[in-house]
Every structure is written in structure tokens, then in C-alpha cells.
């Protein structure tokens, strides 16, 4: 039987894969994609929490699931924000590419202490 834990662990795995992508890769686009992966992992966790309401009480009423709409709204808004972030991010990446002909963040590294 699939439990909340399964979903949480899956989301943790996806989240950390995304985080590692951010840390390992040097291509700005791939970093951006890894961030998207992280955001979606978080969304998965929210939806899973909404579906499996988490209460101390043993008895659960079906009304609890109705409250969960809340989480759905948040997921919806996170998707909006992520889309906006990608739009801005791609513009910034294109701008950098125009200036430098590279989007490798190790090569484009003039700013140093």
C-alpha cells in the first residue's frame, strides 16, 4: 500500500537531485532546470500532504480533505511564480549570452573579491 511516506521520500529524492544539479552543473540553463525540479518536488510534497491529512486524532473525517484545497491553491501559485521566474531567468541568460557568448557560470565570472 502506498503511504504518505512513499510520496515524501520520492519528493525528497527529487528535491535533492535538483539541489545537486544546482551544485554540480555549471551551465546556467541546467541550473535553472534543476531549480524547477526542486520546486516541483516541493509541489509533490504539498499535494501528497493535502491528500493524506495529517492529524493526531485517530478518526478522520472526510471534511478534513475539503480543507486541503488550501494546499492546492499554494501549488497553483507556486507554478505561476516558477513560470515567472523562468521567463525572467531566460531573459537574463539570453542577455548574458549576448554579452559573453557563454552561459557557463565559471567562465562568466568577472565578479570576484
Amino acid at each position: 500500500m502506498i503511504s504518505l511516506n512513499h510520496y515524501l521520500i520520492l519528493s525528497a529524492v527529487l528535491f535533492s537531485v535538483g539541489a545537486l544539479g544546482v551544485l554540480l552543473r555549471r551551465n546556467a540553463l541546467i541550473i535553472l532546470m534543476s531549480v524547477e525540479l526542486m520546486l516541483n518536488a516541493a509541489n509533490l510534497a504539498i499535494v501528497a500532504f493535502a491528500r493524506y491529512p495529517f492529524f493526531r486524532e485517530v478518526g478522520l473525517a472526510a471534511e478534513d480533505l475539503a480543507v486541503a484545497g488550501n494546499g492546492m491553491v499554494f501549488v497553483f501559485l507556486v507554478m505561476t511564480v516558477a513560470a515567472a521566474e523562468v521567463g525572467v531567468g531566460l531573459a537574463i541568460i539570453i542577455n548574458l549570452y549576448r554579452q559573453r557568448q557563454t552561459i557557463n557560470i565559471e567562465i562568466a565570472n568577472l565578479l570576484q573579491g
Binding site: I31, A45, F54, R56, V73, F74, L77, I92
Partner: protein
Amino acid sequence: MTSIQIPELSFSLIAPELILCTAAIVILLVDLYVKNVERINITLLALIGIVLAFFSAGTLYGASELAFSWLIIRDDMSVVIDQIFLIGAALIVLMSHHYSERYHFPYGEYIVLLLFSTLGMLIISASADLITLFLGVELVSITLFVLTGFEKKSLLSGEASLKYLLLGAFSSAFMVYGIAFIFGMCRTTNLISIGSLLSEDFIGSPLLILGFALLLVGLGFKIALAPFHMWAPDVYQGAPTPITAWIAAGSKLAGFIALVRVFSLPDISFHPLARTWVEGIWWLSLLTMIIGNAGALVQKDIKRMLAYSSIAHGGYLSMAFVSHNDVGLQALLFYLAAYLFMTIGAFAVVIAAGRHGEERRRISDFAGLAKRRPFLAAMMSLFLLSLAGMPPTAGFIGKVWLFGSAIQAQYYGLAIVGILTTLFSFYYYLRVIVYMYMRDEEKEFEAEPLSVSLTLALSLSALGVLILGVFPNTLMKVITNSVIVL
């Protein structure tokens, strides 16, 4: 078809936000449809919007209400903070007016985005729900990513905006994940409901702590707390200087207010969570103070130096969360206001000391400024002394109050580290003053004459620093009241 019941919408409670938003949209349309609109008109429109918002915020004192189905809290604290944000925004608009004449970037869009970022800050200060908080933080971040990259001919600006974007997005992911766990454990994203849940005997699973920790990491990125600060110097150096000032002042302020909302609005002082949380912040604060000050010692670029100084200030400020009492919160609010004035002032001097195509970027460029431009040098000295925390200025009062709160909460170690690092910081602040007054300039460099707008910005921030330093009572009283009401 189900009919939809629209809940009560109390627009008067979000009047400052609405006014600011309207101003931004009006400017957008004016810029779009009016041919050859003068820069000064846009500036004036923006200032009118900000001033109106400021006064409409003023009418909201004593409201203390929850609005929009508990998404917005309008208490005195939010009003004070809104007003501080709006003053800051006005100063930045004045600075930008001067700066944009030098570099000619699309000014209409610039001001619109600036106003939207201010709107995001106001939303943060008034949010009573993690959803509004998140959206506010994102509105601030996304507009600032763009504004950082506004100087499109500058390689530094483009690179800075990329770095800011990647780390900003990375930190948002942490925030979302943190909110996910908090939502999962508490079944709500509303901070007040979370607070009442936590103040009962609700022990909570460790996942709740994980959630708050991830949220802290996310916000820690935004306010550049120590292990998450690496983006700050690069971004500060590369961004257009008024935007640097706005990131250093406004965005940092907003991040701290978000922390206040998350960790103070729900009353978690009795919860076992509080201990973990205080311990975490204790380390972050310590690390931030040390790294910020140590970093600032070796910088040659003035903007990078100020960046590290701002990181260090983040450390002092987060001390307030460690002490976790009313005094701490009051000190935090006061110091944030003082910090806003001195940071914006310092960056305004950096702008004023440059000219088209050439900025005084290195600290050594400031040599001999006192002879050429005694007014600028005096201003710079004032702001730097205030940042260092010298007596007649706002910085001194703020620091005393902050360290006092830590001592009151018996965190002596942290207070001592704070005082020691402050002493260290005198070195790099005074170094700039020494350069300005005691060294001769290496090459002739005539800065642009001061424009009206920049003079206004400079003198207003200087006035702010001095008034808060000499007559701190007014603001203190307001802040004390607002925190007690809370």
C-alpha cells in the same frame, strides 16, 4: 453551477498597497502612450504615489485587524514598517533619477519595477499567511533580478543578475519545500492558525522543525546570512548602484520582516521548536558577524566592502531573534530603520562621487575626496560612522539596543562577539575616511555636479541618521507601542 460567495474585501486596510500598485500602472501606461515623456515627470509621479501611500498608511495606525480571510494582518508594526519601506523607496527613486541620467536605461520600466518591488515589501510586512508571504518575497526577488541586470552594456551587471537569479530561485525552492512541510504538519498555511496550534500542547513531528529550518534557509539566502551569503558581494558590486542600495536596504529589511512574521507572529516561545530555532539562529548570527566583518577587511571595491558590511549587519540584526523577547523585536525594528538610512546614504555618496562612464569604484579612488568635494566626504563619513556605530548617530542607538536585548536574554557570548566584531569593523570604515581626508588623489577626477534629486536623497538620509541618533524617542515610542499591541 455552484454560486460563489465573495468574502468581505476591506480595501481600506490595504490602501498603501493599492495606491502604490495604481501608481506603478499609471506610470507604465504614461510611459507607453505619451510620446517623449520627460524623466522628471515619471519621477514626480512615482514620488506622488509613494507619498500618498505613506500618508494613507499613516491613517491606519491602531487598526489591528485581519483582512482578506486572514491573509493580511494590519497591525501597527506593519504600518511602521510600511512607512519605513516607503521612505526608502522615495530615496531610491531620487537616487535613480540622477543615476539614470548618467546611463540612460529605460527609465519608465525601471521605476515601475522599483514600485512593484516596494509593493512586494509592503505585502510581506502585512502578511499573516505563508502564501501571501511567499508571493511578496517572490515579487521582491523577481523584480530585483531584473533591476540588477538593467545596465545592459555592463558585463558586471548582466553577470550579477544571473548570479542573483540562480541563487534566488534556488532559495525560493527551499522556501517552498519548507512551507510544504509546515502545511503538511499544521494543515494550514495561516500563520495565526499555526501559532494557535503550536501554543497548544501540539508537540509536532520533527518534520515541522525541518519545515521551519528549510524556510529559514530560504529566507537566509534572501537576507544573506552567513553560509548563504556568497551571492551578496557579487550582486552588490555588479548591480546599478541605486539598486544595490535597494537590495542592501529594502530587500534585507523585507527578509527580516518576513522572519519576524514567520517566527514571531505565531507565538512559539513555549514550543520546543523555539529552542531549536534559537540555537540555529545563534550559530547563523555568530557566523554572519564574523564572516561579514572579516570579509569587509580585505575588500578593495567600495561596493563589495559595503556588501560585506551589510552582511555583518545581518548578523547583528539576527541577534534579535536569538534574544527572542519584546526588546529584541523593538531593537530590530529600530535598527532596521536606522540601517536603511545609513546604507542608502552611503550608496548615494558612491553615486555622487562618480561621473558618466567612470565611477569611483575602488576605495583608493576616494583619496582626496575631502578636498575636491568636502560635502560628499562629510556625508560619507557620517554614514560610515553610523554604520560603525559611533555615538551621535542612529547606528549607535540601534546597536546598543540590540546588544542590550541579547544581554537581557543572557546570551552574553553573542553580545561579546557582536561588540568585538563591531570594534574590528571600525578599521574598514575608518579606512575610507582616512583615504578621503588624509590621502592625496592619485589622478584628477572631477565628479559630476550634484543634482537636486541626489542632494535631496543625501540630505534626507543624513537627516534620518542624525534625527534617529539624537532624538530617537519618537520612533522608539511608535515601535514600542506597535510591538506591545502585537
